[in-house]
Amino acid sequence: MIYRETGQFKTTYPDDQAIFPIPQDRWFLGAGLLLALVVVPLTANQYWLGPIFTQFLVFSLAAVGLNILTGYAGQVSLGTGGFMAVGAYMCYNFALRVPELPLFVDFIIGGIFAALVGVVFGLPSMRIKGFYLAVATLAAQFFLLWVFDHVGWFTNYDPAGVASAPSRTLLGSWATEGGPLSFLAPINMMVSGPEATPETKYMITLVTVIVFAVLAKNMVRSSTGRAWMAIRDMDIAAEIIGINPLKTKISAFAISSFYCGVAGSLYVFTYVGNADTEAFDLARSFQILFMVIIGGLGSIMGSFLGAAFIVLLPVFLNILASTLGEGTLPSDTLANLELIIFGSFIIFFLIIEPHGFARLWQIGKEKLRKWPFPY
């Protein structure tokens, strides 16, 4: 009843091509944004803000990035962790060595470096397809992490190889009291390091993720996105209608790696506060890939749903295990049990809905449209 489009006519092409052509969707999204921007930071406790919400947002961004590459351009990548690491370490080094730069510029720099690396490792895609390419991207994963482990400069010669996020402000050191841009000081909040509050970190992450998600949505619904999807669905036909396959694939690798790089930067600066290479290992790449698949390939919205699921499922299992199994089962058994349940759940989900949450969402909307009639 509520979700009914009958009688909503679009009379211009811009109306018809809007991101959310249906007003109900816009209200829904508005409510969601209000919740995320106002209600959550005011009400959530430390535990929920940091490990849960911020983590969710960081991984959502990485999932959006991977979805651009895998879901839209059809190139399976297992090197997400490596690209995130590039962003994280480059952002770290710029923040550390050039404190004058605003932190958000560091994020972008991290993303740009990740994009450059992504282009290099995307080059094989001009000759290799499918799983051959997927395995080839593992080269990025293993090689990049090896580099960060073996070249001390990246971690500022930290003996443990850990990059700890320095305390940095949103607009950089020039915008603090006494700097040349001191008039900006009142809005120049502390974003990273021990002094930064979880609320600030959360808000910065949230705003970044929203901005980049909107940009991604715009890209995939315009000519760039159509070229990606054409290559994904049938590369031969795409070539014959004048799409340059190499350019298209490389652009997907670049944009996707950019997103992963920014997500990696956020991981270090607003989520955990430090990072070693283990944070970006193959397990991370698979985790992000799971988010994309379970969320739905080729759906920006799906990336968020998938990220929520993958972030929340272990938390939920953990809580469940600790409430039910406290004392009765040893902890390593619990860990194994969690592993088994997680794995089974993924298989189960793939079997019942191979197209992920995005499809469920769509089906739900279609049902709502016809409610209360079944068809």
């Binding site: 092409y13 715009n218 315009s222 054409a230 669905d233 004048g242 799409i243």
Partner: protein, 391 residues
Amino acid sequence: MDKKTVNKRIKFYDDLEVMEVDFSDLTFTVNKHVDEFYDEVDRLLASSDRQWYFLVNYTNCKIKPEIWNHFAARGKQSNTSHGLGSVRIGTTAEIRETIREYSRKENFRANLYESRDEAFSALNTMRRRRKTSGSEGIEPYLSVKNIHLSFGGIRAIGGVGFEVHQGDIFSIIGPNGAGKTSMINVISGFYRPSEGQIIFNGIDRTHYHPADVAKLGFARTFQNIALFKGMTTLDNIMTGRLIKMKSNFFLEALYFGPARRQEMENREYVEKIIDFLEIQSIRKTPVGRLPYGFQKRVELARALAMEPKVLLLDEPMAGMNLEEKEDMARFILDVSEEWGTTIMLIEHDMGVVMDLSTMVVVMDHGEKIAEGTPDDVRKDPVVIRAYLGEG
């Protein structure tokens, strides 16, 4: 009708090499009327002692069906003696159909236009083309020379060549495995011929990549539908506009300014094609869900969205029922007439091929065995043998 009135209706534009014949508001009911008119036309033509382009104005003209044959025969006679080519304007639906039918039978281009301006510009193109071509007559638009193609030692095409003229509906026919689809693949740049040349509009494009061939103005459809299954009809057709769009990540990411404007302009163009092919109702349906006939139509739409100069159709009617075939044939003719697009066609349905084509090439076992107008080809004993076997 007396001579004077007829005379008023015939005008010569010397510098343009155009003779305009004005049939507007006339009614022809008996052969005599036609003869009166054409006698005068022929007399004037003979006295001019040179060649002309004819512009024929049919506005509100009525011709009785019984005398149509006579009318056409007289027209043809004038044309063969003094014509360089002809264009027609102001045709009513009825006359248009008759002309089309006749042009198909007699193998000439109907050249129907909406206004005098269009007609004149078409005449200009014709004139220019004749001027630039040598003594051979009109220069071919696309010329395919001596193509050889083989896969791992197996010969697919062995030295086939032909010429396609602008505005032709050019068919390649032949039994299965004759190398027809390979030929289309060579022309669309998907296969590289080991020998031979493809020259389009004076450009040697033998070694172009498929994407560059597309940018040159070639569009094609596939024997087994090659649509982008994950996208809607609208998005599929919009992909055809990609070569006409400038892509810029940053503006597109912001969906702002030129990017947005370009999106809307192209949407408008695509909507025209959607209307033309009558697929409005499936605009937002994912193509994977569409029935076969519609998928073929969407594929044609995508090709048309590229504003092609040459349209390659690989079995556009395979697997269709009679009704769908008729629809498709109508679309192909309309494309040819409304846009003047040169069309190359592979099709198994002989009836369709003979009806639509202006030129036919017959291939068998990777070689060209015959070439000519549909009528010539139909009678060719070599062709009959290829289709029906020896004996």
